[in-house]
Symmetry: C2
Subunit: 276 residues, 2 copies
């Protein structure tokens, strides 16, 4: 999906909501556990109930890999379901936080972008920047596909390294990631992860990357505020994808889980509509 | 596998060789391609031919994930083959470069360490440090399992961020990773990745982490020198695992590939024996 299509989706749905499909086996509604693929059934129900509210879905790979081959089957089936049932109607993000030497990142890119190789065909992938340019560039070689680079993450540990100041440039490490990566991609194939728990930093970040989309996790369970994120993060073309996972998908673990997920999603979408 | 057992293996085999099981579909010997699972057959033949020479095997997950579910099946079968055929005879490393917020890293840890959940039971996993302490610690909660944290990688892009100097401490970023992570684990559950192409840095690194094991990729195809790595990196209990992938596993792509892999592995092991 290209930038124009993504922005059109946001306008049409009046939403910049991304829903994290992180099916923790311990939290899935018990009545689904007897199904052949409980995770796939769970995801399909969440997707069907929220497709008009969400502009993006973001499965985090960890929640599938912990179940081994069976989990990967659910993951592949989930992205296939989205792409076949709702083609062009939603942006898809492989939240995998990959990154390796160039020859290896090339294989990771095939895993998430090349359906003929892996069975999966996401629009975007999250990438960790630690290994530098050649670990990121192979993901940028696919047309209309996106890299979402970790910049300032939502967790406590983000202080450990991301906030370090560079002696050479006086920039923080996460700012160095923003600045250097501007040479690798454009606002049409690169986004950045900025945690909602660091909303006060969004103003500075917008000075460095005024036009790029930011993927903002951490609203809800992690304590970030949607209002603050919108105030400091929105740009002329929206420029935000705000993710909520647990707050939506585990709103209930009864038979009404999809309905309750829709209610929580709807609240967020309506708030977003006010900001757009 | 604990530290004592690893050191015993190194003494017994007179080797600190790690073989990277990175089965690039384009380089696998053609005569295997008709098999039901060519990658598994390839890996099994390499393992059988080198088990007395290698103290560790390291599948890089990218080379499996690019094939989707089928690739994950080969990966799970490969680690199962090692653990059932050669129990206690070799150290196994999930080269996955994972790392996410705590709740998510916990799931990644299950993926690589908890056989009852994922079918996989590696001794160690490579982890990217960008997200800090809480992204790493969930992997350290398993007894006799190891985190191998990226410090100074072998690729060109390692200069982009890892070599930045901290204004606060005057340490390089990769040194900050070494220093801070000393509070998270011990030399009995944590190792570091240091590329062989940066052998001249090993002397400094040894001052910060004199007792830890270092996993050193980049010998062979990437141009690193085993002699230099050994000179600057060895400590009293060896403290090194030196990885070679392409130089060994693709020594031939004919029917003699396993035999040729053994020859290349043997050369490295004999050189290592001289250093021990």
């Amino acid at each position: 999906m290209n930038r124009f299509e993504l922005i059109s989706l946001i306008r049409r749905k009046q939403s910049f909501l991304c829903i994290g499909l992180d099916p923790d086996p311990e939290k899935i509604p018990p009545h689904l556990l007897g199904k052949k693929d409980p995770i796939l059934e769970f995801n399909k129900a969440i997707i069907d109930a929220t497709i008009d509210l969400a502009v993006a879905y973001k499965p985090n790979f960890a929640f599938y890999e912990c179940l081994g081959v069976k989990g990967w089957q659910s993951l592949v089936q989930t992205i296939a379901y989205i792409n076949s049932t709702y083609p062009g109607e939603v942006f898809t993000i492989a939240d995998a936080k990959r990154g390796d030497i160039g020859n290896t990142s090339k294989q990771y890119a095939r895993a998430v972008f090349d359906r003929t190789s892996s069975g999966m065909d996401f629009d975007a992938v999250t990438v960790a920047p630690y290994m530098g340019a050649d670990s990121v560039k192979p993901f940028l070689e696919y047309e209309d596909k996106w890299v979402i680079l970790l910049a300032l993450t939502s967790n406590k540990g983000s202080d450990d390294f991301q906030m370090m100041t560079s002696k050479e440039t006086e920039f923080r490490f996460f700012e160095e990631v923003l600045i250097k990566s501007l040479r690798w991609g454009t606002e049409s194939n690169m986004m950045y992860v900025v945690g909602a728990t660091k909303a006060e930093k969004l103003e500075q970040i917008r000075q460095l990357v005024p036009d790029h989309f930011l993927l903002v996790p951490g609203v809800g369970a992690q304590g970030g505020s949607l209002e603050e994120v919108a105030r400091y993060g929105l740009n002329k073309q929206c420029g935000l994808l705000v993710n909520s996972s647990r707050g939506i998908i585990y709103a209930s673990n009864g038979k009404d889980f999809a309905e309750k997920a829709r209610e929580e999603g709807k609240k967020l979408q309506e708030t977003m509509e006010r900001f757009l």
